[in-house]
């Protein structure tokens, strides 16, 4: 294309703002010499470009389409300080073990920096609309995954963060030194309020700290929410009186509208519950509203990550769960389901470790072997308690403690309610198993290798545990993970 | 701390192997290297080590069930190495499995005794708790006992000490230290304490020759040296100093060297003209002059 203006001094080369279509990299979205500022938001995308699209152009396109560009030059750009608002793709690396000979198409990691001014303070909705709102359907890309994000302290500080946090939660429960225990009432659907409450009472009396509503228990024909709340709180209080412990039940306040949610949450508070729960599907705005409400009302806020696997599970496309975890910590939830490693749901150990560190550390350091690409300073934001739920049982207690540590809620739904001798026995089996393993670990026992013996020794005086071990001894879920780390620790790996 | 691989049977115990495993010899060698002279003390330390080793062997063979008392008393004048030996002893005790940690908490009466009613017990207990697992070294322990002052709380501290020495003998080893005669007076007034002390070690004063050796070692460590003249002067200094009051053995030598260094520095400054270079040899030498300036050579105390 030739120059189209007659203004003197204009070169024959095409001008930046002349009408027409330019490559993104020529529009300023690819800046390999750019040094990200401490105040920039940085996003790491995993790009699978279409054939004949070169990686820098693809990265520049992602930067462009997630900030200021459109597919053709627009003169109105010149009414803005467009250089500042433009996102800058500053680095592109090929992903190891992809491309020719690896059995998967060549992928690239693209690092893109965004100016702080692009984002509204304290708004996850805005942060996400900005970064993932536009770019994922973009044709020149075969697949795109938001792999990780670095949120600058300047932006972190505009968020409330977890309403309660791990430390205060433990101080309210008066429970220190061991993981917390929970269970989801089973069957998932169909119980009436009164029968539902019976499950809660038995489980809490038997030794669990929490029981929870399932994500789809909201208010259905078989059980209206008010009945559930009333019967559950009766169960919680009665169990507290017979054990002397603080107990709780996550009352699910998810509803069709925000107004309904506030009504349910207020009722839970009135009845004296210490915790409520919400599902991820209510949306980021609702989640932030609930977090604000929770802090104002001294309530622990549990988040079920319903629906996340639709976009977090495949390695080449979607949003990695660690990014969701970061957003949720900023938004202000206190609990979030984050994987079990050994249970029935997806979870590679290295990936899960990275996610747990994202939730629990005051400063999460970069660690490529855990797929953490950035140092993330949480600027004093409270810590989120990860919840491990799905297909775990007492016989795995030593593995769970080793993989997941102490600040975690271990939820044994089937593992409690499916116990051959009843729910109370199931809860006791889990609690005894947990305490025995923690005691042994503190004494210096190698629980990874000798954990099963510790459990069997405890089973000799605890009949419910014996029955649990006998029933589920050999149950494991060994499938290949779909989401794994790209960087594996080896002697020769240089990452 | 248990030495491993020993046969606990009628075949007996390999004492040398036990000793080697416990690596006690390293500590004894360290003691030899660190402290000049003190031959009788080093001998006693060896004897006590052997005794404890045998006690361990007897325990392993099931002959002995009670751990022997390990509380000790070190007597001697100041500057004779009592604190150093206490630290090495703690090392040895830990390596022989008699105590859990080789730490030494060193205190005097003021750390144990309070100023008013009710102050002593918590103070003493805090010190004891801090020292548990290791060694408690009480210097000039006889000051705990002041019978002439009826409002003195030292007795309370002594009683608490006794209780712990008895009940927690596997948790704490107490080493008392001080002048020989005064310790004897203390013990005769407090037979309960005396009965719990298993080992007494007396630290003799250093001989003049030993003190000269100590002076050489100290100087060397500080990167100074004597020439023949100053060495002879040092020898004369020592002989005079010994006879004067408040002689504290190695400590006095240290003080003398410090004063000599001060005089040396001033001498060098006075002699150095502008633009002149002072050589390294001069900076390290302690001249006889630097010692002769001492009032020890002036004959009378001031």
């Amino acid at each position: 294309m030739s120059a189209t203006t007659a203004t003197e001094g204009r070169s024959k080369r095409r001008g930046r703002y002349d009408a027409g279509v330019l490559k993104y990299r020529e529009m300023g979205y690819w800046q390999p010499d750019y040094l990200p500022k401490d105040t920039d938001v940085i996003a790491l995308f995993r790009i699978t470009p279409q054939e004949n699209v070169d990686p820098e152009e693809a990265a520049a396109a992602v930067a462009g389409e997630s900030s200021t560009a459109t597919w053709t030059v627009v003169w109105t750009d010149r009414l803005t300080a467009c250089d500042a608002y433009r996102a800058k793709a500053y680095r592109v690396d090929p992903v190891p073990n992809t491309g020719a000979g690896a059995g998967v198409e060549q992928q690239y990691f693209a690092y893109i920096a965004y100016e702080l001014d692009l984002f509204e303070e304290g708004s996850i909705a805005n942060l996400t609309a900005s970064i993932i709102g536009n770019v994922f359907g973009f044709k020149p890309l075969k697949a795109l995954r938001l792999e990780d994000m670095r949120i600058p302290v300047a932006y972190v500080k505009t968020f409330q963060g977890p309403a309660t946090g791990i430390v205060v939660e433990r101080e309210r429960l008066d429970k220190f030194g061991r993981p917390l225990l929970g269970a989801t009432t089973k069957p998932k659907l169909g119980l009436s309020g009164r029968n539902y409450g019976r499950v809660v009472y038995e489980a809490l009396k038997g030794g669990l700290d929490f029981v929870k509503d399932d994500e789809n228990i909201n208010s259905q024909p078989f059980m209206h929410w008010r009945d559930r709340f009333l019967f559950c709180m009766e169960a919680v209080n009665r169990a507290s009186a017979v054990t002397g412990e603080v107990k709780g039940h996550y009352l699910n306040v998810t509803a069709a509208t925000m107004e309904d949610m506030y009504e349910r949450a207020e009722f839970a508070r009135e009845l004296g519950s210490i915790i409520v729960m919400i599902d991820l599907v209510i949306g980021y705005t609702a989640i932030q509203s609930m977090a604000k409400w929770a802090r104002r009302n001294d309530m622990i806020l549990h988040l079920h990550r319903a629906g996340h696997s639709t976009y977090t599970r495949q390695k080449n496309h979607g949003v990695a769960f660690r990014v969701i975890a970061k957003w949720m910590r900023l938004a202000g939830v206190d609990h979030i389901h984050a994987g079990t490693v050994v249970g029935k749901l997806e979870g590679d150990p290295a990936i899960i470790a990275g996610i747990y560190d994202t939730l629990r550390e005051p400063y999460t350091g970069a660690d490529l072997t855990h797929a953490l690409f950035f140092d993330q300073d949480w600027a004093g934001l409270r810590k989120v308690m990860p919840v491990a739920s799905g297909g775990i049982h007492a016989g795995q207690m030593h593995q769970l403690l080793t993989y997941l540590g102490e600040d975690v809620v271990l939820q044994f739904g089937g593992g409690t309610i499916g116990h051959p001798d009843g729910i109370h026995a199931g809860a006791t089996a889990n609690r005894v198993a947990l305490e025995a393993i923690v005691q042994a670990r503190n004494e210096g026992v190698d629980i990874w290798n000798e954990g099963l013996e510790v459990l069997q020794k405890a089973a000799r005086w605890c009949a419910p545990l014996r029955a649990a071990l006998d029933t589920w001894r050999d149950v494991t879920f060994n499938y290949t993970s779909t989401d794994t780390a790209d960087f594996v620790p080896t002697e020769t790996a240089s990452v | 701390m248990q030495p491993t691989g020993q046969e606990q049977s009628a075949q007996g115990v390999d004492l040398q192997a036990l000793l080697a495993e416990a690596r006690v010899n390293e500590v004894l060698e360290q003691l030899d290297a660190e402290l000049v002279g003190l031959a009788p003390v080093k001998q006693r330390v060896r004897e006590i080590s052997a005794f404890l080793l045998v006690a361990r062997a007897r325990e392993m063979l099931g002959i002995q069930s009670e751990t022997p008392s390990m509380h000790m008393c070190f007597t001697g004048n100041p500057g004779t190495g009592k604190t150093t030996v206490a630290t090495r002893m703690a090392d040895i005790l830990q390596r022989l499995g008699c105590i859990r940690r080789s730490s030494v908490v060193a205190v005097t009466r003021d750390d144990l005794v309070g100023q008013y009613i009710g102050h002593t017990a918590p103070k003493t207990k805090e010190v004891l708790k801090r020292a548990m697992g290791g060694v408690l070294f009480i210097d000039e322990a006889y000051y705990l006992y002041r019978p002439e002052n009826e409002r003195d709380y030292g007795q309370e501290a002594i009683e608490i000490l006794l209780q712990v020495m008895e009940a927690n003998s596997s948790d704490l080893v107490v080493i008392l230290a001080g002048y020989k005669e005064r310790m004897q007076t203390f013990f005769s007034a407090n037979p309960g304490v005396y009965s719990r002390i298993a080992h007494h070690i007396d630290f003799p004063d250093y001989s003049a020759a030993e003190l000269l050796q100590i002076a050489e070692i100290m100087a060397q460590r500080m990167r100074y040296r004597f020439d023949d003249e100053s060495r002879a002067t040092m020898q004369r200094y020592i002989q005079r100093r010994i006879r004067r009051p408040n002689f504290s053995n190695a400590r006095s030598i240290r003080n003398a060297l410090d004063r000599a260094r001060l005089r040396q520095a001033n001498r060098l400054f006075e002699c150095a003209a502008a633009g002149e270079r002072t050589r390294a040899e001069e900076l390290t030498l302690i001249h006889a002059q630097d010692l002769l300036a001492s009032r020890v050579f002036r004959g009378d105390a001031e």
Partner: protein, 133 residues
């Protein structure tokens, strides 16, 4: 009833050896041990009586057990627990807490329900039999 507060209440009461092992664990982590006692184990009774100060400078389990035993001798009929405190940034809280003595006769809790409008119930718990052990 047997009150199940603390990290190890579902296990048989810990022996002194087992308590010592837990103290050693806490000391290895750099936590400070503190002894507390009470006659009222109500779950909302946060502030048990302190037996002396938290032992910030103690390095050896024997010293902690010394205080536990002193507390046991002074209050044979009370609940006694050990708290291990972690002062590092990001925690600044108790990391481990477990009961080391229970009264012979443990109290129980009476649940009172005050009925409100609709089917609302207000719950409160009262300790019955505290200090009897």
């Amino acid at each position: 009833m047997r009150i199940t507060q603390g990290a190890f209440s579902f296990l048989p009461d810990l022996s002194d050896e087992q308590i010592r092992a837990q103290i050693d664990y806490a000391l290895r982590q750099g936590w400070a041990l503190a002894v507390e006692f009470t006659e009222d184990p109500h779950p909302r009774n946060t502030y048990w009586e302190m037996w002396g100060m938290p032992m910030f400078d103690v390095q050896d389990a024997a010293a902690v057990l010394y205080e536990v035993n002193a507390c046991r001798r002074a209050y044979p009929g009370r609940y006694i627990r050990l708290n291990a405190f972690d002062a590092t940034r990001g925690f600044e809280t108790v990391r481990l807490s477990f009961i080391v003595q229970r009264p012979e006769q443990e109290p129980h809790f009476e649940l009172t329900r005050s009925e409100g409008p609709g089917r609302r119930v207000r719950y409160s718990m009262r300790t019955i039999g505290a200090g009897r052990g």
